[in-house]
Amino acid sequence: MSDPAPHVVIIGAGHAGGTIAAVLRQYAFTGPITLIGDEPIAPYQRPPLSKAWLKGEADAEALMLKPDSFYGEHGIDLRLNAVAVGLDRAAKQVRLKTGETVAYDVLVLATGARARRLAIPGAALGHVLELRSAADAEKLKAALGPGRRLAVIGGGYIGLEAAASGRALGAEVVVLEREPRLLARVACEVLSSFFRAYHEARGVKFELAADITAFEGADGHVAGVRLADGRLIACDAALVGVGALPNDELAREAGVDCANGVVVDLEARTSDPSIFAIGDVTFRPMPHYDRAHRLESVANALEQSKQAAAAIAGRPAPTPEVTWNWSDQYDLKLQIAGVPFDTDEILVRGDPAGARFAVFHLQQGAVRAVEAVNAPPEFMMGKQLIASRRPVARDRLADTTISMKEVTA
């Protein structure tokens, strides 16, 4: 590392941005760190916003990555409510909305993703909500309660978690999904059917293959969701959870290579050697799959935080991890490892009717992904199987009388 230590400027104070600042200090990096975030609060965890926090089982303090005092104590200049609007790579400067410029030696883009919006009439009505930030979550929580009616647009993980939390708070919930099944973009048919039945048994209603044409309102607030077949689904609030888009504009406008997100290598370095990018905004190599992909997960944000921090602090690159994610709904813990790219076979271990099972996605007999419901051994061993790339004995994997530890024995 050059001397004196470089000034690291991080744009985006979310899970990735907050983590890399802390990890740099754990790695004994001594240079100045400036952490620029457009939200009014210090870095916090987003996953609980649709889960434990929404149900009131975790408080605001529990959400925070670090106490507010941490940043000052560790020489991290945390600048909140600060919006970066431009990047001058030649001058190595970030321009803020206020007109102020911040000079960097090393820049880390941790700008995340934003909720995709629906371009239909009424989308700007009050109580048409999205769920990315703590402020979004506050609005959603205020809209939930006994007898309140919530329409969830999009049957993905955010939508289903909000539906489960909404039911826990006594709200009436209807989920409207454009595709004929839930989780269509992210999970297999077995899981779609399982989650649908589990939610229906707990009072959630579904409108699948739903073609939404407008939000209709009264007094400026949403009062219903209009479908193409003419029906109106009445609601007091609507949550739109239809995917996310990478906030890669700063990089794009500055000529940094982008695809579906900012292109990075396994050090999380972009096409500009002085600029790193981490988290949801990146289009990253997937070494276990020999391809690149954009991931939206905490595990990805943390892995790339460590990759970039190691490169900046001059430490060896960490071993690539098998990507993973989780979802909590009711008493279900779904753990997902890997991504089912180009898989040719699905193998179910256990019985979905017992709410304890795992779906293995195979490619030429080797496990590439696993979706485990209340099945930690299947998830944990699945990660190892994915990393090994070796074919597994299908009959042993499907046989629940053989423990996951013995499956490969």
């Binding site: 802390a22 200090r25 754990q26 965890q45 996953p47 609980p48 889960k51 434990a52 529990a62 925070m64 990555l65 670090k66 106490p67 941490f70 560790h74 905490v298 595990a299 943390l302 071993t319 991890e321 993973w324 989780w326 909590d328 813990k333 753990q335 930690p376 051994p377 944990m380 061993m381 190892q384 996951m404 530890k405």
Partner: protein, 106 residues
């Protein structure tokens, strides 16, 4: 407040005050103590907050749940005193607790 001592794999000790009600994992993460990753933030979904509870404290930290047990079963270097630190809630009874970290959480 309860004083908890976290000992890294290389022997580095960190003694910090942790608020009762927080987990042993949170006590480490909020004080930026290396060696406990806690990727899932305490949802018992990742097994990256593995610690070894000092023998003298095993009884007071209680027993692990079935979910924790089955996650731990697949973690690296598991011992009889292994726990997931997100599943140990700090109380005044744990004032003085000592936990050690494994070489790696991944």
């Amino acid at each position: 407040m309860a004083k908890i001592t976290y000992i890294e794999h290389d022997g580095t000790e960190h003694t910090v005050d942790v608020k009762p009600g927080q987990s042993v994992m949170e006590g480490a993460v909020k004080n930026n103590i290396p060696g406990i990753d806690a990727d899932c933030g305490g949802a018992c979904a990742c097994a990256t907050c593995h610690v070894y509870v000092d023998q003298a404290w095993l009884e007071k930290t209680g027993s692990s749940t079935a979910m924790e047990e089955s996650m731990l079963d697949f973690a690296e270097g598991v011992e009889p005193n292994s726990r997931l630190s997100c599943q140990i809630t700090v109380s005044d009874q744990l004032d003085g607790l000592i936990v050690r970290m494994p070489e790696s959480q991944h």
